[in-house]
């Protein structure tokens, strides 16, 4: 048993380690890497894993479960409330229109109305896992299309709950005995009872979240054992999932709810950082098993049918999404990203289809086919986005590079700013006010359009792409400013620039002290922490408001910054002395401790003896007779 487990773990992990870097190198994103890895180790190519891929998939669905728990955690009610129009509006338009269209098509093909409706609902879902991962990797979560995508996905994720509640009603006319070994509380009951059970379970999760889990976590936190907290976090997720499975519901939804309930508790960030690594690995596993579960014999037997289904469904979904995007006034480029990003069928379709099959709404063969279509459509998404990135966007909508005027000479600016968010824009405005022209790289098409209108020289696209850097004049420029919001993308940019354009001076925006350490390790000299100057400036004003003279306060601030930067460079070197690997959050705490101790030893604001006459007066008093 354990042998098999080790063997499987070996294959899956190896597939991830081999294919994800390859995909990344080819700029295809990690999701496609996992999927391809899965296809290749799957039964139809190398055959390292056989049909049990499906069982693994059940296990790996846990990645999806954890992802939804995390999404739930991020959904503070106030946040949700602020986005309510976007979520309810865009989400409902997309879901209802897609369902109706697919329902109509399936009726036309010859499905029964129950089956057609069930399929419509399942196929209307998009993949939160793929889309969120891709958006994050590309640093697009904050663009308009990123926000709309999140809203639609969220609406779908929530809608799964009522859909699961509704499905038994569709099966009311055809209740069959469930398959052996699948005994849950739901099976074998009439539809209305199943619906009631479901609502009861949802209520249970909400109530226990409020009144059981939070007090329990407080108790655990008081014990001050890190592992125990991680264990408790996993226990909550697995426990909720088990209860949901027991009543025959989707565990993903249960944990999503649990996440929402816990979003308001004080443990939110702690839970997030504990679950995150597990989620990452399991989600990767999930993508691999999706790849491995694609039934190629099905495709070979009915190639036309499958291709037609995949294309048809993607086209219907894309069409609806494009219109939805238009309704919520996305600009063309953003809409294209939104449309192609969400055009696949998502992981919830697996859950829904197996439930639909269990309810005997759809026969086994069709279910298999639908699952195959789902998996294929998920595999196609990264390819579609890649095509969009490379071939469509550069040709239509916002151009990668501004058309040169016929007689215009391409002037290379001395400064390149990568990333024109709140940080880069302030910088760019300052430089412009002083007559320094900068070339800007940004990947938000709306912003690019605006900046071009304002007369900036802007390149649209991923700043870590070498060809874009080249055409932006990285060979001739003197300074490159990495001002991108995501530290990881900044690292990547710094790394590439150092290798390919060694003559460029690189100046980097760092989000935090840890981020700065990372950059020091990479050999960057000019590091600017967002968190430093502003907080010290605020601190100076605090001193002033408390009655300290402005000049003294200002000098104290100047000295503190000087001291802090020196301390940063020093501590960065010692950071590798520790032989234990510490998780991010704990490292932060340890860092704070180190800093506070240091501050106590060296008073960072001690200075200006010469302006204090105390020293002279005291000395004079000591040896008064001499003077």
């Amino acid at each position: 048993m354990s042998n098999i487990f080790l063997h499987d773990a070996l294959i899956y992990l190896a597939a991830a380690v081999v294919f994800v870097p390859i995909a990344k190198k080819l700029r295809m994103g990690s999701v496609l890497g996992y999927l391809l890895g899965g296809i290749i180790i799957g039964p139809f190519f190398l055959g390292f894993i056989g049909q049990e891929g499906k069982d693994i998939m059940h296990f790996a669905e846990f990645g999806v479960v954890m992802m939804l728990f995390l999404i739930g955690l991020e959904l503070e009610p106030s946040n949700f409330w602020r986005m309510r129009n976007l979520i309810l509006g865009t989400g409902s338009v997309q879901l209802c229109t897609t369902t109706i269209l697919i329902f109509a098509v399936f009726l036309f093909i010859g499905f029964g109305w129950q089956a057609a409706l069930a399929c419509g609902l399942a196929l209307a879902m998009s993949s939160t896992a793929i889309v969120m991962q891709t958006l994050r990797e590309k640093g697009l979560t904050k663009t308009e299309s990123g926000k709309s995508s999140f809203a639609v996905l969220l609406f779908q994720d929530i809608a799964v709950i009522p859909i699961l509640a509704l499905l038994p009603l569709l099966a009311i006319s055809s209740v069959h005995a469930p398959a052996a070994g699948d005994a849950t509380l739901l099976s074998g009951q009439p539809g209305w009872a199943q619906t009631l059970t479901l609502l009861g379970a949802v209520g249970l999760v909400i109530l226990s979240g409020r009144f059981v889990i939070v007090p329990f976590l407080r108790f655990i936190a008081r014990i001050h054992l890190r592992e125990l907290f991680t264990a408790s976090a996993l226990l909550i997720v697995i426990g909720t999932a088990s209860i949901m499975m027991l009543v025959g519901l989707s565990p993903a939804l249960g944990t999503f709810l649990a996440g929402v309930v816990l979003a308001n508790s004080e443990f939110r960030h702690e839970l997030e950082s504990d679950i995150e690594p597990f989620k990452g690995i399991l989600l990767g596993l999930f993508f691999i098993s999706v790849g491995a579960s694609i039934n190629f014999s099905l495709i070979i037997n009915n190639p036309l049918m499958i291709v037609a289904l995949v294309c048809g469904i993607i086209m219907i979904k894309a069409g609806v999404l494009f219109l939805t995007g238009k309704l919520s006034r996305l600009s063309f480029d953003q809409n294209l990203l939104f449309t192609l990003g969400l055009a696949q069928v998502g992981e919830f379709a697996f859950v829904l289809f197996s439930f639909i099959h269990q309810l005997n709404i759809l026969p086994a063969q069709s279910t298999d086919m639908m699952m195959g279509v789902t998996a294929i459509s998920m595999t196609v998404t990264p390819l579609l986005l890649l095509a969009n990135d490379r071939f469509i966007i550069p040709r239509v909508g916002t151009k990668e590079k501004e058309e040169k005027e016929a007689d215009g000479i391409d002037v290379h600016n001395p400064v390149i700013i990568a990333g024109f968010g709140h940080f880069g824009s302030t910088l760019g405005r300052f430089l412009r006010a002083n007559g320094i022209h900068a070339t800007i790289l940004d990947n938000d098409s709306d912003r690019v359009d605006l900046l071009r209108k304002m007369g900036f020289k802007v390149f649209y696209g991923d700043a870590t792409r070498i060809d874009i850097l080249k055409s932006a004049g990285a060979d001739e420029a003197r300074i490159l400013i990495a001002a991108i919001d995501s530290p990881e993308i900044n690292y990547d940019l710094v790394d590439k620039t150092k290798k390919l354009f060694p003559n460029l001076t690189i100046m980097v925006r760092a989000k935090s002290r840890l981020d700065a350490y990372e950059l020091i390790d990479m050999g960057v000299k000019d590091i600017y922490r967002e968190s430093l100057d502003t907080s010290v400036r605020l601190g100076i004003d605090v001193l002033i408001k408390l009655g300290i003279r402005k000049y003294s306060a200002t000098r104290a601030g100047q000295n503190f910054i000087k001291y802090d930067e020196a301390a940063m460079n020093q501590l960065a070197r010692h950071r590798h002395d520790q032989d234990t690997y510490i998780f991010n959050t704990r490292e932060q705490i340890q860092l704070q401790e180190q800093l506070l101790t240091n501050d106590r030893e060296v008073n960072p604001t001690l200075n200006d003896h010469a302006w204090d006459s105390d020293l002279i007066v005291n000395k004079l008093a000591d040896d008064g007779s001499e003077h």
Partner: protein
């Protein structure tokens, strides 16, 4: 061989034709260190320990600055206030600068004639520089007469070149030790001492 530290203070160096000419390639000269204060401390936050280290490492110090409103630019005053600490530069145990040579190298828009009793500015340059002289004396240093480039508003480029040669000759002689403090102290400006001791032409 002596080492010279030029403490240069000019808030608009890039606009000062005279000072750019005087200081061109100065840091490359043997034995001369240029400490460009406005470049080093744009926020007026002087690193006192760094400055003390520099002072200790040099035997001859020059306060090189333009005359603004009959005195030096603000950062040089800030430097004097902060670096020349009691107990280090003066007062009890304040002997770190004892017997070092110091003087002002100044540029001024007005000619020597307007800085005179009956002139427009009513007092001489030496009189306006008295606070510097007394500061040097307090720090037990040897204060020499100033080197001055005056009438900069109307300076021809030939005359400016002449001043540059003067300044560089002065630095060379200070570095090599080819000077006599007592003879220098007898002149009103180091320019005069240079004229009497060399074959240089008067600008």
């Amino acid at each position: 061989m002596n080492k010279i530290l030029i403490l240069f203070a000019h808030p608009r160096f890039e606009k000062s034709k005279t000072n750019r000419a005087l200081l061109k390639n100065i840091g490359k000269r043997q034995g001369v260190t240029l400490n460009d204060l406005y470049e080093q401390y744009p926020d007026f936050n002087i690193d006192v320990n760094r400055e003390k280290g520099l002072l200790v490492a040099h035997q001859i110090i020059i306060w090189h600055h333009p005359i603004y409103m009959y005195s030096a630019p603000a950062l040089l005053k800030q430097w004097i206030d902060l670096v020349l600490e009691y107990g280090w530069a003066h007062g009890k145990d304040g002997d770190f600068l004892k017997n070092k040579i110091i003087f002002n190298a100044i540029t001024a828009g007005g000619t020597r004639e307007v800085y005179a009793r009956g002139g427009y500015n009513r007092y001489t340059i030496r009189e306006f520089l008295l606070p510097f002289e007394q500061t040097a004396t307090l720090c037990k240093m040897i204060y020499l007469p100033p080197f001055a480039v005056q009438g900069t508003h109307l300076l021809t480029s030939e005359a400016l070149n002449q001043y540059v040669v003067f300044y560089h000759t002065l630095l060379d002689r200070l570095v090599t030790g080819d000077f006599d403090v007592d003879a220098m102290k007898k002149t009103e400006f180091l320019n005069d001492w240079l004229l009497s001791k060399t074959e240089l032409a008067k600008p």
